[in-house]
């Protein structure tokens, strides 16, 4: 096995720092710790970690501006930790370039699953979308623009198709309303959250067995949507 992947943890609370480090080291990652944003930024520049775990409630700087600066020179995935009531902060962090979030209190298994998913995504080849995406009973042929369920073609409108392909091409990844609107409708529509809700509703009607209890297009309340294959 090659050298362990390094993870930089920027968190001001010593207890959380401790248990997260223990959990990550137990999985064989190399963990570096920082308790302030400025220390974190310096560490990130020297270590070049494979993943950054960032607490949104740091004493010296607000998370959003940290992420914006970090994104100017690094594409390392960022997992943000936030308190439950900070929905707006989460959305801002994700819009600024964070890749995923965890709300406190979180469990170790949840944390490890997110870390694994982010690192795996990072190792994937730079191909944006595979020509064929498969999940559940569905198969999307991105070249012929055809979606089938158990071999039978599924009728989708242009927008529904674009939304589904974008979500399915990024499994497990959370997108804010703004990001999805930008990707599917374009920059003029980023404030029209209503469009998105309507089309997610339509899409769930067509692909979910029970639209009230979706299994593929999951709602992240107050934040956005996440696709689960």
């Amino acid at each position: 096995m090659n050298t362990p992947e390094s993870i930089l943890l920027v968190e001001d609370d010593p207890q959380i720092r401790e248990f997260v480090s223990i959990a990550l080291e137990g999985e064989g990652y190399e963990v570096h710790e920082a308790c302030t944003a400025s220390h974190g930024a310096a560490q990130a520049a020297s270590i070049r970690p494979a993943l950054l775990i960032l607490d949104l409630g740091l004493p010296d700087r607000d998370g959003q501006s940290f992420i914006q600066d970090f994104r100017t020179w690094s594409s390392t995935p960022i997992l943000v930790l936030s308190a439950r009531t900070q929905e707006n902060e989460k959305v801002k962090a994700l819009d600024a370039g964070a890749d995923d979030f965890l709300s406190k209190p979180f469990g170790v298994s949840e944390l490890l699953a997110r870390v694994r998913a982010l690192l795996r995504r990072r190792q994937q080849p730079a191909l944006d979308t595979a020509p064929i995406i498969q999940f559940g009973d569905f198969r999307i042929d991105c070249v012929r623009r055809i979606v089938t369920r158990r071999g039978k073609p599924l009728h989708l409108t242009q927008i529904e198709y674009r939304l589904l392909v974008f979500l399915a091409a990024n499994p497990g990844r959370v997108f804010t309303h703004r990001q999805l609107l930008f990707q599917v409708w374009g920059s003029h529509a980023v404030e029209n959250h209503q469009y998105l809700r309507v089309y997610v509703g339509h899409l769930r009607q067509k692909i979910e067995a029970n639209p009230a209890q979706p299994e593929h297009i999951l709602t992240e309340i107050g934040v956005g949507y996440r696709f689960q294959p």
Partner: protein
């Protein structure tokens, strides 16, 4: 007073010409009657003309009518005819009487008209003042009162500039109001006249006094001539005191509201303290005990595993309670801004089901949605809290393994999102205010974890959405809690049409 009449006629109306014309016509009409015994009637007819002129056109035309009439009477009818040689003294007397009657009637009419005009003006002002008082009674803030007062005065006294300033804001004026002048306003309680820099204008400072003191100063810049008029001053003073009473009312209303807030904050703080001391300490004691037991390490691995699992559950419970406390504090503090959006009810139900499946794996939870329900306008994060609390409440207070049903249905202009259980149902004789009040628990000493905030939070969230929380017993046993939200279809945005597939 004559002007009023002229305005109504299509041609320019001259009362003097009119008087001349009418007296000539009367004279011509009476000319053929030469009987001397008819003479007094002639005189009376002229008097009648004078009286009518006086009452209809006023004093001056009446004097003219009297002069003309006596002249014509003496000249045409009194022998010798067509000469002014008045030989008999009583004809002179009739002429004089006619003149006196003219003066008297004219004067009476004029003062009557004047009085009528004054009464009318008074009445319209009273009506306007009443209207202002009504408007002021409906105002809620100082700004509204100031705005209403200024607008009213600018309508009533054209050409004046009105402002209301705080009692201590004399420095904001140009030129600034010296402190002694301000004190004089408060102590002598009368209007002061000052300058505003423009020689053609005067500034009146009217104290706005009510029983509890000076509430403001009405600053009125108006042409110097108008500032002298007592009528305007009285009006300004009346309005200043009306507005002062209104200001005093808002002042007391604010004070009452603040003391009420202080009181309820105090009650809330006490309740939180007692909740924290009892309902959180108990599970914390458990946590400490379990942690110590584990660290002593004298237990079998199976027991250890079980203890760790309990420890985690206990911590999650404490987290839920702290979350509830924080939510309630946030909601109560009034700093929560609703982030409302149109979305289907399924959206939030899907999320709580997802969470419920991880926390209570073996609880059967069924969902039924009325088909064709329109989207609702709600804050997803808060609504998730409200529904989660209802679901948690239902699960906690019903036997393990008993089914929970979530349903969404339409009831007239409302949508009902209900969480129903098959537990013991609601205690008899408990009204919803008690049931949903903070720190109220079914059984205060029960070992079911909680601080009694779940339903209070759900209700607060429902109310923040202009809805409410309903509780009832179900036929066949169990309780049902429903969030009732307005459908308000009219406000729902139209769906964008999708382009062709």
């Amino acid at each position: 007073m004559d002007k009023d009449l002229t305005g109504m006629l299509p041609l320019p109306f001259n009362p003097y010409l009119f008087v001349l014309l009418v007296s000539s016509v009367i004279t011509l009409l009476m000319l053929p009657i030469k009987d001397p015994s008819f003479l007094p009637n002639n005189a009376l007819l002229y008097v009648l003309l004078v009286v009518l002129t006086g009452s209809a056109l006023g004093q001056r035309p009446a004097i003219l009518a009297a002069l003309i009439s006596s002249l014509l009477y003496a000249h045409v009818f009194v022998p010798p005819h067509f000469s002014l040689a008045i030989t008999e003294i009583h004809y002179l007397l009739s002429a004089a009487i006619m003149l006196i009657v003219a003066l008297l009637v004219g004067h009476l009419t004029a003062s009557l008209k004047n009085t009528a005009r004054l009464v009318q003006a008074q009445e319209s002002r009273t009506r306007a003042l009443y209207e202002l008082a009504r408007k002021l009674a409906a105002t809620l803030t100082r700004q509204e009162i100031e705005h209403t007062t200024c607008r009213f005065l600018q309508e009533v006294i054209p050409g004046c500039q009105i402002r209301v300033i705080e009692p201590n804001a004399g420095d904001s004026l140009t030129p600034p109001l010296p402190a002694p002048l301000r004190d004089a306003l408060e102590q002598r309680q009368q209007t002061l006249r000052t300058e505003n820099g423009d020689p053609a204008q005067a500034r009146l400072l009217v104290p706005m006094l009510a029983s509890s003191g000076l509430h403001g100063i009405l600053v009125c810049d108006l042409p110097a001539a108008q500032a002298e008029s007592t009528e305007h001053r009285e009006l300004l003073e009346t309005i200043a005191s009306l507005a002062a009473v209104a200001l005093e009312r808002t002042h007391f209303a604010d004070a009452a509201h603040q003391s009420e807030v202080r009181h309820s904050t105090e009650v809330l703080r006490n309740s939180i303290l007692s909740a924290l001391s009892h309902d959180l300490r108990t599970p914390l004691t458990g946590l400490m005990g379990m942690a110590e037991t584990l660290s002593r390490g004298r237990i079998s691995p199976e027991r250890q595993q079980a203890l760790l699992e309990t420890l985690r559950t206990q911590a999650l419970n404490i987290n839920q309670q702290v979350t509830n406390l924080l939510d309630m504090a946030r909601l109560r503090s009034g700093t929560v801004e609703l982030n409302k959006a149109w979305q289907p009810a399924e959206e939030v139900i899907g999320v709580i089901l997802q969470q419920a499946r991880t926390q209570w794996k073996d609880r059967p939870i069924s969902v039924s949605l009325e088909p064709g329900l329109p989207p609702l306008c709600y804050d997803a994060v808060l609504m998730e809290r409200a529904l989660w609390n209802l679901l948690e409440n239902a699960i906690k207070y019903s036997p393990a393994g008993s089914p929970i049903e979530i349903s969404v249905c339409r009831q007239d202009e409302h949508a009902l999102i209900s969480v129903c259980d098959r537990g013991p149902g609601l205690p008899a004789g408990l009204d919803s205010d008690t049931l949903f009040s903070m720190f109220r628990r079914g059984n205060p000493e029960s070992n079911i974890p909680g601080v009694g905030l779940g339903l209070a939070i759900a209700r607060t969230i429902a109310e923040a959405h202009a809805g409410d929380l309903l509780a009832e017993n179900r036929p066949g046993g169990g309780a049902s809690f429903s969030l009732r939200l307005s459908l308000a279809l009219a406000d729902c945005p139209e769906e964008e049409l999708d382009e062709q597939p």
